[in-house]
Amino acid sequence: MTNGNLMVIRADRVARHYRMGVAVVRAVDDVTLGVRAGEFIALLGSSGSGKSTLLNLMAGLDRPSSGAILAEGRNLAEMSPQELAKHRSHTIGIVFQAFNLLPRMTLEENVELPLRLAEIDREERTARVRQAIERVRLSARLSHRPGELSGGEQQRTALARALVNRPSILLADEPTGNLDSATGDEIMRLLREINESGMTIVMVTHERPRAERFAHRIITMSDGKVISDGGSA
C-alpha cells in the first residue's frame, strides 16, 4: 500500500567510503533511490553488499562521504548532530537483528525509552506505551525483562519500541536474522500488518524468499551498488 508519489526518503548519488590503512572500502557507492510513503521495501544482498550501511545512512546514524540523503525534504548530510538525533527520535523507528533491548529494563520500560528521549509527558507516555505493546500483542508481558522473553517476543518488543513515537518510516535491519523460521514469519506478518496501516518500511535482509513474499519492492545491492530495483526510483 503506497501513498501516491510522496517521497519520504531519497538517496541521491550517496557514497560511504571507509579508509582502512591505504585501502578505501566503498561500502555504499553512488547509490540513488527513492522511498515512497507507504512502501514496504526489502534491501536485499549478501553480507558486505552495503545494505546495512545504506540503512544506517537513512537512519541518520552515519553520514555519507558524498551525495545527499533527503528525509522529508531535508538533507541528512547537512544536519547538525542535534538535528540528526531529532530525526532519529521523531521521523524514524529502528529495529535491529540483535533486538538491542536494554537488559535491565522491563518490556514496558524499554518501549517507553524513546518517549523519554523525545520528552513526551508522563501521562501520554503510559497510554502510548500500552497502545504500542498491544499492537505487538505483548500486553501480558509488561513487567518482564528481555532475558525472560523469547527471541520473537524480544523482536516484537523492539518493534513496539520503534513504533511508540509514531515515526513515519520504520527501518528494520535483518529483523528475522536471529529467529527461527516460524518466529521469523510471525515477525514478517507483523511488519506487513504495520505496513498495511500506512507505515513506510525499509527492511534489510539476505533472505530472498521472505523478501519476495512480504515486500512490495526489492532493491538488490552488491559491492555497495544497487544492481536491481524492483520498483521505479
Binding site: P81, K86, N100, R104, P114, R161
Partner: protein, 446 residues
C-alpha cells in the same frame, strides 16, 4: 531528555553496578570527610582562640584616658596652655556620656591601689583591684575555687593564687575566712571658714580598714582590658572598690586643678558589644576630646593568620578529595566500556550527544552528592572524636573542657557543593567521551 528522566535513568545505572559505584562513593566520602575534619579543626581552633581572646577583654575594649595622659606618654607637656586649651577631665560626667554612646555595654574605671592585708596576725603588702561584674565571663574565672562575688558591692574578695599561697599553705581553706584590708582613703578637707568659698581646696589621706570575706581563689590573674595590665592580686567588686575612695595615682593631679575635690578617673575601660564596632566607638570617644586605644589591628592580624591556616588545612583536606575524584573518572570510564552498546542504542532511539553527556554528568554528580553527605557525616564524627579525645586529655590534667572543632552549617553546605563540583569535573572527560561515541560503532560492540 527531561531532568527527572535523567535522574531516574542515572539512578538505575548507579544501582546496576552497585558495588563499584558504592566503593567510588565511599572514596569520595573519605575525601570529603578529610576536608571537613581539617576545616572543622581550623574553624574550631579559630573560634576557640577568638573566644579566649574576647574573654580577655582586649578586642572588645577601648582604653580611654584624658588627652594630657596620652600626650605625656608621647613626651609632650601642657606647660603654658590656657584653661580653654586644657584637656577635658575624665570625670563622672564624661563616663556617663561615654556610656550613652551606641554599642557601648559597659564603662568602668581602672581602680588599683596599694593595700596591706592583715590575716592571722601577719601583714602582707600588695595591690587591690576592682573587678566589674562582667568579668565573671573572663577565662581566668573559669575553674576558680569558690564563687564569684555575690553582688557588685559585697564585702567580699577573691585572691589570686600566689597571694593565697602567701596567706596559707592550703589556699582552698581560705575560702569563707575574713581578712582585714588597710588602705589609704582620700578625705576632703573641711572648708576654710576664712575663705569665701564653701568648698575646700584639698584633701587629706587617712588610713582606713575594711573587713572582707574571702569567697574565691583564682588560678591566673584575670585581665580586664588594655588598661588593666599588671592587675592587683586581691580582687574586689568594682562598686565596693569605688566606694572605698582609695587614693589613686592621679589624685595629686586633681589637687592642682581648679576644683581639687572633683574626682576624675585616671583611665576608663569601655566595653563594646561587638569587636567590629570598636572603631566607630573609639572615633566617637576621640571626638569627645579623650585619648582612646584599642587592639583592633591585632584582632585583624589574628584573623589573617587563621584565614591562611584554614586555607592550608583546606588544601591538605582537598587532596584526598582530588584522589577520590580519580576514582570517579575510573568508574565512569569503565562504565562507558561496559555500556558502549547501550549508548549506541540510546543514540539510535534519538538520544542526542547532550543527553548522553548529561546522563554521565548526573551519575557523577549523584556520586558526588551522596559522597558529600556521607563525607560530611564522617567528618562531623571525626570532629567530635577529636573533641572527645582532647577533653579526655585535658580532664587528665585538671583543665576545663573545650571544643577544638566546629562544623558550622556553611561548612556542611560548602563541602557537599564542593564534592558535587569536583565529581562533575571528574565526569567531564568520561561524559564527553561517551557523548562522542559513534552510534554505528557502539551498536557493533559486543
Amino acid at each position: 531528555m527531561k531532568a527527572r528522566d535523567l535522574v531516574e535513568l542515572a539512578g538505575r545505572n548507579l544501582r546496576e553496578a552497585f558495588l563499584r559505584n558504592s566503593l567510588t562513593t565511599i572514596g569520595i566520602s573519605v575525601g570529603v570527610a578529610s576536608l571537613v575534619a581539617m576545616l572543622s579543626l581550623g574553624v574550631g581552633l579559630q573560634d576557640l582562640a577568638s573566644d579566649r581572646l574576647a574573654r580577655t577583654g582586649l578586642f572588645d575594649a577601648i582604653f580611654v584616658t584624658p588627652r594630657s595622659a596620652a600626650a605625656a606618654f608621647r613626651g609632650s607637656s601642657h606647660a603654658g596652655t590656657s584653661p580653654a586649651e586644657r584637656p577635658k577631665p575624665l570625670d563622672e560626667d564624661a563616663r556617663q556620656k561615654i556610656a550613652a554612646l551606641p554599642n557601648v555595654v559597659e564603662v568602668y574605671p581602672d581602680i588599683r591601689f596599694p593595700i596591706e592585708i592583715h590575716f592571722a596576725g601577719n601583714s602582707y603588702a600588695t595591690v587591690a583591684a576592682g573587678v566589674t561584674p562582667s568579668a565573671r565571663k573572663d577565662g581566668a574565672f573559669e575553674g576558680m575555687k569558690g564563687n564569684f562575688f555575690s553582688s557588685p558591692n559585697a564585702d567580699e574578695t577573691i585572691l589570686q593564687i600566689d597571694l593565697a599561697h602567701q596567706l596559707s599553705n592550703q589556699p582552698d581553706m581560705l575560702i569563707g575566712k575574713d581578712l582585714t584590708l588597710r588602705y589609704a582613703e582620700r578625705e576632703p578637707l573641711p572648708a576654710d571658714p576664712n575663705d569665701g568659698n564653701s568648698a575646700s581646696d584639698g584633701f587629706s589621706i587617712v588610713p582606713k580598714e575594711k573587713t572582707l570575706r574571702i569567697v574565691g581563689v583564682v588560678e591566673t590573674e584575670p585581665a580586664g582590658g588594655i588598661g588593666s595590665l599588671g592587675r592587683g592580686r586581691l580582687l574586689l567588686p568594682l562598686d565596693l572598690a569605688e566606694t572605698l575612695r582609695s587614693a589613686q595615682a592621679n589624685d595629686l593631679r586633681d589637687l592642682l586643678r581648679d576644683s581639687p575635690n572633683r574626682h576624675t578617673y585616671e583611665s576608663l575601660t569601655v566595653r563594646v558589644n561587638d569587636p567590629p564596632k570598636v572603631k566607630a566607638v573609639e572615633d566617637s570617644i576621640k571626638q569627645m576630646g579623650f585619648a582612646a586605644f584599642s587592639l583592633l589591628d591585632a584582632s585583624k592580624s589574628l584573623s589573617l593568620v587563621f584565614t591562611v591556616f584554614d586555607l592550608f588545612l583546606g588544601i591538605f583536606g582537598s587532596l584526598a578529595l582530588v584522589v577520590a575524584s580519580l576514582g570517579i573518572v575510573n568508574t565512569l570510564v569503565m562504565a562507558i566500556l561496559e555500556r558502549r552498546r547501550e549508548i549506541g542504542i540510546l543514540k539510535a532511539l534519538g538520544a542526542s550527544d547532550r543527553d548522553v553527556r548529561s546522563l554521565f554528568f548526573v551519575e557523577a554528580g549523584a556520586m558526588g552528592w551522596l559522597g558529600g553527605i556521607l563525607g560530611v557525616s564522617i567528618g562531623w564524627i571525626i570532629g567530635h572524636a577529636i573533641n572527645l579525645g582532647t577533653n579526655i586529655y585535658l580532664k587528665g590534667r585538671n583543665l576545663p573542657a573545650i571544643s577544638v572543632t566546629a562544623v558550622p552549617i556553611w561548612m556542611v553546605a560548602a563541602a557537599i557543593i564542593f564534592s558535587i563540583l569536583v565529581s562533575l569535573a571528574a565526569g567531564i572527560y568520561p561524559a564527553s567521551r561517551a557523548a562522542g561515541l559513534d552510534p554505528v560503532e557502539a551498536l557493533r560492540y559486543e
